[in-house]
């Protein structure tokens, strides 16, 4: 199994049209015989009868004086020696070994994610709380206090509802475990598609390396849109690859999944071109150029049509524009974004590029010296390698365009999902034929593991533990109070049984307006200043992280007026530095 394309048990050619019977483990051998190139027809069927028969032993000439009964027994017999000491063919045993190794990879992935712990991040809190409100709306007709579709980066009717359902039963841990299931599923699908494109060794390496990425570890225990979106992208990519020998219409199976991925998280739309091109590329060898292009066209039209309908009927346009396509430009420099991208995915990308180059130069490592089967063309390999590796650059490139590093640490994992198969090739080539240098593969994996561990820990400690803050707030809140909180999503989520969302005001609002007892209206910072001076809020929570400029305004008002008293000062340390929750109340 040294080559990236599968061999077959008998080394016979098989019909190129249709999926064919396949080997017992489900691996289909056809790709091994593909010539590729510009041939519009199905790949030629080439016969290889390498093991067909050994020539019959020559019959010795008859010797009348020879009596076999008195012939001496040979002192030893030379056993029949096979051409190679192992088989490159697929089989049940090899499949199970592969699956067991994949299971080990999944166990490692689960352990890496489950070791993370912190209270809810503000995005998690926001989505889960919104999901609770939408669940109430769906189940009990409770009116929604706000139209979340206007500013969510994914449909509020998909993941938030699902996450809130898990949260209702198992709490935040349940919602995060749901994300873990999605990420484990993505790894399984990555393995499956890599195995189908190449072989088990590449697939296992791809899965093992994808597993230890910072983004994979973090998103595996993070209750946001990202995990389901990655899973759906992986599922649609797998369908695209799995149906590459079937009729072009079969690729339409991937269309609703891809559309759903985009609906779950709009940023997943960045990867739709990759799916379309992948559909063309992987179909080309088996269905020819024309049908491959039809595959791509069908997938594009199918996905586009579904998304268009969702835009019209699902009211996704405003949110899509606000959060994704017309997102407000940031101020982060390209150098900073490139540096962060390199830190979070540089090694994986480098290995993938190495694998891509090696794959373009040589399709396989020729471990089986007797296999001289058909190869794909270099041009096709280059196109596939470029597509998979290039996809890893989409998120950094788009965020450089937007000048924002927001969520880049998560988005980078979307592209690396596609680059992972090439990284798998890179590692197999690094280890060499017959595992001559396994230490090199292990070295790179351990380095990536160390990076993934430290970076995921840093991500999960990048926001403060809110346990004590929520405890203090919980003692002072009531169903009728008015509260000002710098990161309102967290207390809104944790205190949703004791307070309502509309009792909480954030310090973000440049559009905040306050009407005093005399009917005068104050906007923005002036509004906060007068509201504090008038003691409008019963509690004020500041953390100095999200809106430091507005914090200064509010603190100045607190100090000047004296209406509020500091009732708790709770220091915290995150990976971004120390900070303090300060909670003020009216004595």
């Amino acid at each position: 199994m040294d080559q990236e394309f599968y061999d077959v048990q008998t080394y016979r050619s098989v019909p190129a049209q249709g999926p064919g019977p396949g080997t017992p483990d489900g691996t289909t051998p056809e790709e091994f015989y593909w010539f590729g190139g510009d041939d519009a027809e199905a790949p030629q069927q080439l016969g290889y009868e390498v093991y067909e028969h050994f020539a019959p032993a020559p019959v010795p000439e008859f010797d009348p004086a020879f009596d076999p009964a008195f012939a001496p027994e040979p002192e030893y017999e030379i056993p029949e020696v096979p051409e190679t000491g192992w088989s490159v063919a697929g089989g049940r045993r090899r499949s199970w070994i592969g699956r067991m190794l994949l299971l080990s990879v999944l166990v490692v992935q689960a352990m890496l994610s489950l070791r993370l712990h912190n209270t809810a991040f503000q995005d998690e809190a926001l989505y889960l709380f919104a999901g609770h409100q939408e669940l109430d709306h769906l189940l009990h007709g409770t009116p929604l206090p706000i139209d979340y579709s206007g500013y969510f980066s994914g449909s509020p009717w998909l993941y938030p509802v699902l996450g809130a359902a898990a949260d209702s039963v198992f709490g935040l841990t349940g919602a995060r475990l749901l994300s873990l299931l999605f990420m484990l599923g993505a790894t399984v699908l990555l393995y499956a598609l890599s195995r189908r494109l190449f072989n088990e060794r590449v697939a296992l390496c791809a899965a093992a390396f994808f597993t230890v990425l910072q983004s994979t570890i973090t998103l595996g225990f993070f209750a946001t849109y990202d995990a389901p979106a990655i899973f759906l992208l992986a599922l649609s990519a797998w369908i695209v690859v799995r149906t590459n020998r079937a009729t072009p219409l079969a690729v339409l199976l991937a269309a609703p999944v891809a559309a759903l991925a985009v609906a779950v998280k709009y940023a997943a739309g960045l990867y739709l071109p990759t799916l379309v091109l992948l559909a063309v590329l992987v179909g080309w060898p088996y269905r020819g150029r024309a049908q491959a292009l039809v595959r791509g066209l069908l997938l594009a039209l199918g996905t586009g049509g579904l998304l268009g309908a969702a835009m019209v009927f699902g009211h996704m346009t405003a949110g899509l524009q606000t959060t994704t396509t017309s997102r407000v430009q940031g101020t982060d420099s390209a150098a900073k974004l490139l540096s962060e991208s390199a830190q979070w995915g540089g090694l994986m990308f480098a290995v993938a590029c190495g694998g891509a180059l090696a794959y373009i130069v040589r399709e396989r490592m020729h471990e089986a010296v007797d296999v001289t089967a058909v190869r794909s063309t270099r041009r096709w390999r280059a196109a596939l390698a470029l597509l998979l590796c290039g996809t890893a650059l989409l998120a950094p490139a788009y965020q450089i365009h937007l000048h924002t590093s927001t969520s880049l640490h998560k988005h980078i994992g979307f592209g690396l999902l596609f680059a992972a198969p090439m990284a798998g090739i890179g590692i197999t080539r690094l280890m060499g034929a017959h595992f001559r240098q396994p230490q090199l593969g292990i070295l790179v994996w351990v380095v990536m593991l160390a990076l993934g561990l430290s970076q995921s820990t840093a991500r999960f400690t990048s926001w403060p533990d809110s346990t004590q803050m929520v405890q203090v707030l919980g003692r002072h809140t009531s169903p009728t109070g008015r509260y000002l909180a710098e990161t309102r999503e967290v207390p809104v989520y944790y205190l949703h049984g004791a307070t309502k969302a509309n009792q909480w005001t954030s310090t973000y609002g440049t559009g905040y307006s306050y009407r005093d007892a005399h009917g005068r209206v104050y906007q923005g910072a002036d509004g906060y200043r007068h509201a504090v001076a008038d003691g409008w809020f019963d509690l004020i929570l500041l953390d100095g992280k999200s809106t430091p400029a507005m914090d200064a305004v509010i603190r100045q008002a607190i100090t000047t007026d004296g209406t509020y008293r500091l009732i708790a000062s709770l220091p915290f340390t995150t990976s971004q530095g120390p900070g303090t929750y300060q909670i003020y109340s009216k004595p």
Partner: protein, 337 residues
């Protein structure tokens, strides 16, 4: 060396160098993620050392019942005298004042003893040295911060009255030794250091002497501001020859204070001079505190200092005190306000 071995070695070296470079880059990401802050180890150690949820003193600032306080010479070093006093008046005092010089260490054990007996410790912090200007300039920041951290770490309620009777001329920090600006600056500076240390379990009591002996000294210039004060303490004694009614003793001060703040009052030190009026004074004190909703209670200075202020020294006054203290309005367990 064969060409194959050379290739392997070159490949190994290239991989090792690549890994090293990317590890360094990647580790950088975890340490300086986005804003360049603390290492993970810092986060972990901070989490391990995170103090418990701060004691919420809010219910103690305006309790539904009145404080029945006392200052005793040997408390909090020993609670023996406290127990004896409690037996004498028939109720355990819930506001227990003690005196500490600025520069002394924080008596955490003494504070815990008071609290364990159901009382709110009230520390009169006396800045005999250094000067208020020096404190305001930050010269004592290390000491104050250390003190504040100890207070936060103990996490029990504590009332602090810094530089009491600042409007008099008999103390080193009084009106003849320091300006009102120095006093306010020093107070605010100390208060801010306590906030920075997270010591929100302190009730800040600003305690001038009643203005009767120093009527020309305005209190407002000495007032640090509502953002820095929880209680306005008043210090005044019933004397045989001076003011001997609640209104005469505390009224002028309360009226002047109300011109610049609505903070509640606490009578931070009071007692009645030995004499024939003592029983009446006790009645007047209890009546006055009960009649004013904005007076949260009083502290009886039960210390023989310059005069014998101990209530036990006058049996009929003690009996009256005991009878009035028995009312539900006075005294409560600060652990269950």
């Amino acid at each position: 060396m064969t060409p194959r071995h050379t290739t392997v070695r070159i490949r190994s070296a290239a991989v090792a160098v690549l890994c090293l470079v990317l590890v360094l880059a990647g580790c950088g990401s975890s340490r300086h993620d986005s804003s360049g802050g603390q290492a993970d180890a810092g986060a972990a150690s901070a989490a391990a050392a995170a103090p418990s949820t701060p004691y919420d003193v809010t219910p103690l600032i305006k309790p539904s019942r009145k404080y029945l306080g006392v200052a005793l010479a040997t408390v909090p070093k020993s609670m023996t005298e406290y127990d004896a006093y409690s037996r004498a008046i028939g109720k355990r005092p819930d506001l227990v004042e003690y005196y500490a010089s600025f520069g002394d260490g924080f008596d955490a054990q003494g504070v815990r003893r008071i609290y364990d007996d159901g009382g709110l410790p009230y520390m009169a912090w006396e800045p005999f040295e250094p000067s208020l200007a020096s404190i305001a300039s930050g010269a004592s920041d290390a000491y104050v911060t250390s003190f504040a951290r100890s207070v936060r770490a103990l996490n029990l309620p504590l009332a602090i009255s810094f530089g009491h009777e600042m409007n008099g001329n008999w103390y080193a920090w009084g009106m003849t030794k320091a300006t009102p600006e120095d006093f306010v600056k020093a107070w605010r500076h100390i208060h801010d250091l306590f906030e920075q240390a997270g010591a929100t379990n302190v009730i800040w009591a600003w305690s001038p002497n009643v203005i009767n002996p120093v009527p020309s000294i305005a209190l407002k210039p000495y007032y640090p501001g509502d953002a820095y004060v929880d209680w306005v303490g008043m210090i005044g004694y019933y004397t045989v020859t001076g003011q001997n009614t609640f209104d005469q003793l505390f009224g002028p001060t309360m009226r002047q204070v109300r011109q610049f703040t609505r903070r509640p009052f606490v009578i931070a030190e009071t007692a009645s001079q030995l004499g024939p009026r003592r029983q009446t004074d006790v009645d007047d004190l209890f009546d006055g505190v009960a009649a004013h909703a904005d007076v949260v209670g009083f502290i009886w200075f039960n210390v023989p200092k310059r005069a014998d202020w101990r209530i036990q020294s006058t049996p009929h006054a003690l009996a009256e005190y005991r009878k009035r203290a028995a009312a539900d309005l006075f005294g409560f367990d600060v652990r269950k306000p």
